[in-house]
Amino acid sequence: MLNRRELLAIAATVPLTSLNAAEKADRDRLADMAMELAKKAGAEYADLRVSRYDNEGIFTRERQVQNVSSSSSYGYGVRVLKKGAWGFSATNDFREEALAQAVRNAIEIAEANGAIQTRPVHLAPLKAYTAKWKSAYEIDPFTIPIERKVDLLMKVNAAALETKGVGFVNSYVRAVREDRYFASSLGSRIQQDIVRSHGQFMVTAVDRSKGDSQSRRSMMAPIQRGWEAIEEYPLVQEAAQAGEEAVMKLKAPGVEPGVYDLLLHPNHLWLTIHESCGHPTELDRALGYEANYAGTSFLTPDKLGKFQYGSKWVNMVADRMQPHGLATVAYDDDGAPAQRWYLIRDGVFIDYQTTREQEGLVPGVKAHACTHADSWSSVVFQRMPNVSLDPMDSKLTEAELLSEINNGILILGDGSFSIDQQRYNFQFGGQVFWEIKNGKKTRMLRDVAYQARTPEFWNSCDGVAGKAEYELGGAFNDGKGEPPQSNAVSHGCTPSRFRGVNVINTGRKS
């Protein structure tokens, strides 16, 4: 076994073309080299991420398969901190001269940025960790034969098409596997393996005589689990129901615009949580780091600890350790252990999502291990943990919440969504809307969307159901940052009630 010095001496001559995901020992060797080169070049800190991302998707429409696709991406990124400024470089060239060049590129960037840096980066203290972690799953979705996946999707499509009036159905199953290695100049060496799965369909009914069409998507949430999650979910039964509901929507009356009480199901409310709590509690947004793209936040540091964000029912917990949460890890991309902490407690805004370098930017705000990059070729920055509405010790049920609504709407599934750049004004649609009259679910409505201002909306919450009705929703593709990156994140909650919310009719006759 060569020591570091000997390895560096031969760095310019020996190609590492054999390096691949199976040869994980080589990653330590690569890390040692990168750390040594960065240190020699004057870096105060350095880290290396070597990652492989596998994606598989089977896509169908009606009675045919549109595509079977498989992708794999493998490479590494080197990050250095020199004189208080960051530099980063990434490549999928595994030859040692390419690694040396990547370190030089990162150093060159740090030096160039250092010349115009006004406040040096300060990193909170962190220990070194050596660890291996694997996300919880039973059946690796990549081991399931394609025929079986196609068979399931064909059954889904057939079930949807059984209803007269259904014209189209698209469906897919997707599997994601991430093999992520992290090493830092602190001495950390961390290996994490993550698997995620998702099944989805969209059924469309068309009434050509009226020039109208209505769609209904599946409410299955993507999840950090294996194939077992797709098998457990009743996709075929839901497709049959969705076909009927898409046709019902064509004939349903449009909602009368006005003020309604809303009963929001977890398969809908997760997205409202994501947009109106997940994003505004990001410290980088609150401080202006995302001003040019995603925006800033109305939850500015002066509101910390005193702003009544919601009613006493509103307890928002950030959790990167939540079982099966899409953003769940053991360590973030700074090599810091995952945490669980409250952002909103008894309705009061009390904390932010933060990273190692953000500790101390706002007095009293600690680092919460939210550093993440979506690829080996992407630079790390602050990304969202799983953020959920904690039902605490509520004993209420969805049925009880519904029974106390005189004039309201039950909304299921996520639909159209839009929110302003400070996360005040939002508008959300859904998949299925049921009118509630005098405590009873009555008829289907269509063209429903609610518009609200975030604090008023969450302060109008007057009941969340208990833990027994808790569900996780989420998405594979939450966008943020420049150049844009995608993050998988979950949001859990129980059926929840909101009083006096403004509902608009999005139909063409409105």
């Binding site: 498989s70 991406s73 060239d93 595994f94 115009i116 001003a291 040019n292």
Partner: protein, 450 residues
């Protein structure tokens, strides 16, 4: 990756195929970026990436695989491509038959597009920092807080298949955007510029424009949300029309009755005068200001083509399959979008407005009802009230629910064209669009966001 290298690499990999039909696409990218916020650099990097997509057909069975490929190292690239070809063949063998199977395209002729500038593609970190420093200096001088992104990219893309098709494109692009905010967080302005050549960007001027908007937009007044006459600056037109256009010109959706361009009795609305007669929208990959790749993902040639000519819907995009089934020509596909303008400057559009709203940027635009192309979204980074031909005061932001296709039928006046990049970026889709003075624009609620 030169054209010769791409041809050599793909040729060797195609020779190794055991099925008659294989398609390989390669992309090689050198991407440098520097982000800044609070008038200082934040994240930045240089990424060198190679990517390959391989699709194999075994009979009518089709599968695609993709992987990172080290294109800087041709031998390794050929080995990796051969591995992907084998993987695609294996996957195709167990995939169901593609009912929309089409034979591969043979050799094609492409437009010559000059889209590459070495100075733009191969910039140093020091040069990037210098450009951003110029912008930050302006922000400091104007006493605003700047956040933004400067990125430059040099890329090569190639497609080759076993039927003899070979397509190659090389391009560069530099994009700079800045949001300036007043220190009290009561005003915000945004400007973005993009060019195939770095010499086409003026960092100081761009920063100064954003700073001006930020200062002028301080303390926006609240007015009732309702329908108002409005002027959309080219950036706002790009945000609304540019981004929605590409998704909605799909002919198949229109034929299936699921689009705003669906006509009665299973027909489309091609040939109808749907828009104002002054509206002409087209694509042209050889446009000198916004050159783009002259072929689509299968190597199908892209040429200049109209979508709307003098208010008449001229074309929708037919995929090769859907074209064959409907006995139409495939395309037109588009990698850029141009709308004809006039010589009328923005100042003149304002002068011609009795009362209305000046919109500088739109944001978070999402579909609400695809059937009527209804979208919701918000104004952002500078909204102003115009009365008697003059900007009178800034406004609080609005949410809107509007159909860009209704708006193009309700145009009062068309202004000058500018090259623009949509704020919510979807790839590097570039556009040249004019400012539009519209008879009415539907604002539905107030947003407190600045």
């Amino acid at each position: 990756m030169t054209s010769e290298q791409a041809r050599d690499i793909t040729g060797k990999a195609l020779k190794a195929a055991t099925v008659p039909e294989v398609e390989i696409s390669l992309s090689h990218d050198r991407h440098g970026f520097l982000r800044f916020a609070r008038n200082a650099p934040t994240t930045s990097g240089l990424t060198l990436t190679g990517q390959a997509n391989v699709t194999a057909w075994k009979g009518k069975r089709k599968a695609s695989v993709a992987g990172a490929v080290d294109l800087a190292n041709p031998k390794s690239a050929v080995d990796e491509l051969k591995r992907l070809v084998v993987q695609a063949e294996r996957l195709a063998a167990i995939s169901p038959e593609d009912r929309e199977y089409l034979p591969l395209l043979g050799p094609q002729k492409y437009l010559e597009v000059n889209a590459y500038d070495p100075e733009t593609a191969e910039m140093t970190a020091a040069k990037r920092a210098q450009h951003v420093a110029d912008a930050i200096r302006v922000a400091n001088e104007r006493k605003v807080v700047g956040a933004g992104l400067f990125e430059q990219r040099g890329s090569e893309q190639a497609i080759a298949n076993s039927a003899g098709l070979f397509a190659y494109h090389r391009g560069s692009v530099a994009t700079f955007s800045i949001t300036a905010r007043t220190p009290d967080d009561r005003g915000s302005g945004y400007t973005a510029v993009s060019s195939s050549r770095i010499s086409g960007l003026d960092f100081k001027e761009t920063a100064a424009m954003a700073a001006h908007k930020a200062v002028e937009s301080r303390n926006g007044r609240e007015i009732k949300p309702e329908d108002y006459p409005a002027i959309l600056e080219p950036q706002a037109v790009a945000d609304l029309i540019g981004n929605t256009m590409r998704g909605i010109v799909d002919a198949r959706r229109a034929d299936e009755g699921r689009s705003v361009f669906s006509g009665p009795d299973g027909k489309t609305r091609i040939g109808e005068r749907i828009f104002d007669p002054r509206v002409t929208v087209y694509t042209d990959p050889a446009n000198r200001t916004i050159p783009s790749r002259p072929f689509d993902g299968d190597g199908y040639p892209i040429r200049a083509a109209d979508f709307i000519r003098e208010g008449v819907l001229k074309n929708l995009t037919y995929s090769r399959y859907w074209a064959g089934r409907n006995k139409k020509a495939a395309g037109p596909f588009l990698n850029n979008l141009i709308m004809d303008g006039t010589d009328t400057p923005l100042s003149k559009l304002i002068e011609n407005t009795e009362r209305g709203v000046l919109v500088t940027r739109l944001w978070y635009i999402r579909p609400v009802d695809p059937q009527q192309a209804l979208y919701t979204g918000l104004t952002r980074d500078g909204l102003f009230w115009i009365e008697d031909g003059k900007i009178r005061h800034p406004l609080k932001n609005f949410r809107f629910n509007e159909s860009p296709y209704r708006l193009l039928g309700d145009v009062a006046e068309i202004g000058q064209v500018l090259p623009v990049v949509a704020g919510e970026r979807y790839g590097d889709f570039r556009m040249m669009l004019p400012a539009l003075r519209l008879k009415s624009f539907r604002f539905t609620s107030i947003s407190d966001a600045v």
